[in-house]
Structures are given as C-alpha cells and as structure tokens.
Symmetry: C2
C-alpha cells in the first residue's frame, strides 16, 4: 500500500517507542540468576522467559496508546486484527537460547508490514545499547560507536564471503547439508549470532546469513533492515522470505545469486 510521508514518520517514531519500551523489560531479566526458562516445545529446547512476555506486553501497551487501529502479530500473544492495513510484527526476544546463556546476540525484533510484507523494521540489542533501523528511507545503526549509516558491502565472490548461521545443524539434515555446501566455499563461517547476524550484514561486516525453520516474526524486521542497507533477503527458492522457513540474506544481488545456486545444487543432489 501507499504510505504517506507523515504516516511513515509516525511509524518510525512509534517503532523507536516500542524498542524503548521493550529494553527495560528484557534487561530486568537478562543475566539474572533467577531466570527461569520454560520448555515451550516438548520436542526441543525453546525456552520462553518472563522477559519475553513482559517485553511484548509493554510493546502492546505502547500500540494501544499510539496506534490502536494497527494490527499486531506477536510471538507470545498472537494476532490482534487491525483496520489500517498495517500490522506490527514483533518477536520480543529473538534468540532466547542466547538470552538464557547470557550472550549479547539476542534482540528485540519490531517491524511494520502491509500486504506486501515488512516495510520498516528495528533490530534492537538492549544490553549493548545498539539499534539497527531500516525502512522508509532510513538505514541507520545507533550504538556504542555513535550513529552510523547501514550499508551492505560489495563482496561478489562466495570465496571472499563471511557466512553466518546460528546452529551448525541449521534445520533438517538436507538443510544442514545445503548450508555446509555453501559454507565450504566461503572464506569464513561463524555461528551463534541469532538475529544479530542480520544486523551484521546490514552493517557491512559479514556477507551472508542462511537459516531454516524460521517463524514469520523471526525474519520480518531483519528483511526490512537488510533491504534498507542495500542487501537482499529471500527464501531458498528466491521468493519472498517473510513467511519464514528457509531464509537467505545476502549483502548484494551477485552474492545472493551465487549462494542461492549452491543451495539449490545441494538440495537437488
């Protein structure tokens, strides 16, 4: 949909308010000895924390006050329909395993989407005090080093690329094989960065993130941030990524094409 400049500015303003509201709720629980993680998924280890719920409640409170007619999709409390055609999508703590391990790699994911997908998003890391914002003409990082533009880098060859994913197994055995088929051709492979990996692509520090098994709320904000910085995010078939599942984020189109071809070669073999 067409979003006026005035509305874009208001959405950016509210996105910052949402990130501001989530910060104290997550930090109240981060690195606390009493942090208790429930087991949400009996098949695996997917902890939900008090912080997750408190941060989402705080953000829903901001929206009820500031933009009550927008829709909401949140990881913890599900779907709230709206009437404006705009939907806020958030994951109050992306990277809960990182969160309960004390690593500074989790983040608060906030985005606003229309019928075409995410239009603007924030990846916020409250412990470091770092925020990555992309969309509506904005592509900026604010953190310990000040305010800096986000700009993906120009790495063209897979053999020059740094590639990231969170877990070495990635997803299914076939998905894991496809990831490692690409990673073997890269210069450097790193693990464990959660949503911070996408922020590093947008910051021009790394070149590729390849993941599988994502939820829509895991990837909406990263799509907005990476795209605003000149990168490209799709699924492993080259289509829209905001429905989740298999995702590849690349610093530029050439690298995206090279990595996608290798993923598909592995999946077809």
């Amino acid at each position: 949909m067409q979003i006026s400049d005035t509305v874009q500015q208001d959405l950016l303003r509210v996105a910052h308010l949402l990130a501001d509201a989530a910060r104290p709720e997550t930090l109240r629980h981060f690195r606390q000895a009493s942090l208790s993680a429930e087991n949400k998924d009996s098949a695996g280890f997917d902890p939900v924390t008090e912080a997750d719920r408190a941060a989402e409640m705080a953000m829903r409170g901001v929206l009820a006050r500031e933009r009550p007619e927008d829709g909401i999709i949140g990881e913890e409390f599900g779907v709230t329909p709206g009437t404006t055609g705009l939907t806020w999508v958030f994951d109050p703590i992306d990277g809960t395993r990182g969160f309960i391990s004390g690593t500074p790699t989790w983040g608060v994911l906030i985005s606003v989407a229309d019928e075409t997908g995410p239009r603007m998003g924030i990846i916020d890391q409250p412990f470091i005090g770092e925020r990555f914002v992309g969309g509506f003409g904005v592509a900026v990082n604010m953190g310990p080093l000040g305010k800096r533009p986000l700009q993906c880098r120009k790495t063209k060859a897979l053999s020059d690329a740094t590639i990231l994913t969170t877990f070495p197994e990635v997803g299914s055995p076939a998905e894991g094989r496809a990831f490692h088929h690409v990673a073997r051709q890269a210069k450097l492979t790193r693990y464990g960065m959660d949503c911070y990996a996408y922020a590093l692509v947008a910051s021009g520090q790394v070149d590729l993130v390849i993941e599988a098994g994502l939820q829509p709320y895991d990837i909406h904000a990263p799509i907005a941030v990476v795209t605003a910085a000149g990168g490209i995010v799709t699924n492993w078939q080259g289509g829209a990524a905001h429905h989740g599942g298999q995702v590849i984020a690349a610093a530029n189109r050439d690298l995206h094409a090279a990595a996608l071809a290798q993923l598909q070669e592995s999946l077809a073999s």
Copy 2:
C-alpha cells in the same frame, strides 16, 4: 611466589590501565570498512589486524612506564624478559575472526603470571564496555548492568549444563568427536563466543567451555577469571591449562569431573 598485598593492589591497578589503554586502539579499527586482515597462517585463516598491533603497543607502553621490570609475553610482539618473577601475558585481540566479522564476542586478554601460572586476569570487551576481573581476591564484572560479583553456578549434571565452544570442528577430528560426545549429553550447546565464553562461565550464565589448539596467551586471563569466580580450568587430562592446547573450563568441580570423564572416554575409544 608470595605476592604482597601492596604489590597485588599495584598489579590490579596496572591491569586496569592496560585494559583502558587497549580499548581505544581496538575500537578505532572495529567495524571500520577499511579494516584489512592479513593472513598470518598460510594453512588457515588467522587474520592479524592493525588493531591487534596497536593495542599491544599501547599496553607495552603502559608497562614500560608503570612496571618496567616485569616480563611480557604478547601475541604480536613476543617475549620481553623481566626480573621480578612476574610476567604479563596478553592477547590484544582474542577472537580476531569475530573482530573482523563485527561480532561483540572478541576481547582483550590481560593477565599476570608467576612460575605457577596466571594469578590475576582481565577479559575486556571494549565495544560493549564490559570488563571481567579475577584474582588477588577480586571477582567482578563491570558493564552495562553496573558492577556485579562474578560467581560460577552450581549445575552438577551434564544433562543440565550449557556448553560452549567457538568452532564446531573444535580442533582435530578426534578432538571434535570428543567435544561432541560431551555436547550431546548437555542441555544446550552454543558456538561462536570466543573468549567471551569464559566470561559467561565466570558470570554464572553457562557451565562449560571446551576448546582445543589454544595458545598460552589465549587462556591465561580466562583461567584467572574463571578460577576467581569459583570455577575450574584444566587441560583435557586434568592438568594445568596455561600452556594452551586442549582446555576445559567448568563452573564447578563436579561438572568438571563429569565432562572430563566423557572427554577421556571419547579419546580412548
């Protein structure tokens, strides 16, 4: 050797000065587009950065002024003999691969050792602005959440433990198998944290770090910090770890014994 309270206080004071001196030198180069990494080891990817050298030079400058008679072992500029029986051991940027990827998991490692090994150490993360200090009666973390005591946690069973290592391959194929033999029995495995992993053990956030192929300067400071927080760091045979190689850091003796037994079972099979 016996180190008087007065000397201990002076060593702590100087250790903080060293960390303070290294911070601007590392941050000047962190996340810069112009960061150029040389290839130190033709067999692998082990970049040395300008930041590495500048930080070590800055620290050597502090020691020349403050404690000129102590020895120095630095990653970049080697051994400078001393006459006091005390040797400063530092790695100006531990986790250079993390550094050149923009992740906040690298650190400045500073320690002071006598003939028995490290007695006090600092793990400093300049980008976050976080410092972990252990030794001479001190065990403290200073960072975004304020000043907090370091205290390893009480996790006794491997099945309740969170285990970290930086690279999933760990070291040689046999070393990798041994790590994964332990990791399969743990509750949660995470990768990619560089020296920050040891700081998380000392902070009571995770339980085990198992690595191989370390240099002495990689592990001196972590030994001091983890030990001061009540943890235990040895090699995979249960002996002194400060010579490098295979290292296991555990939150407590029970967990150390359990993990060590599993490592040795795998190596013997």
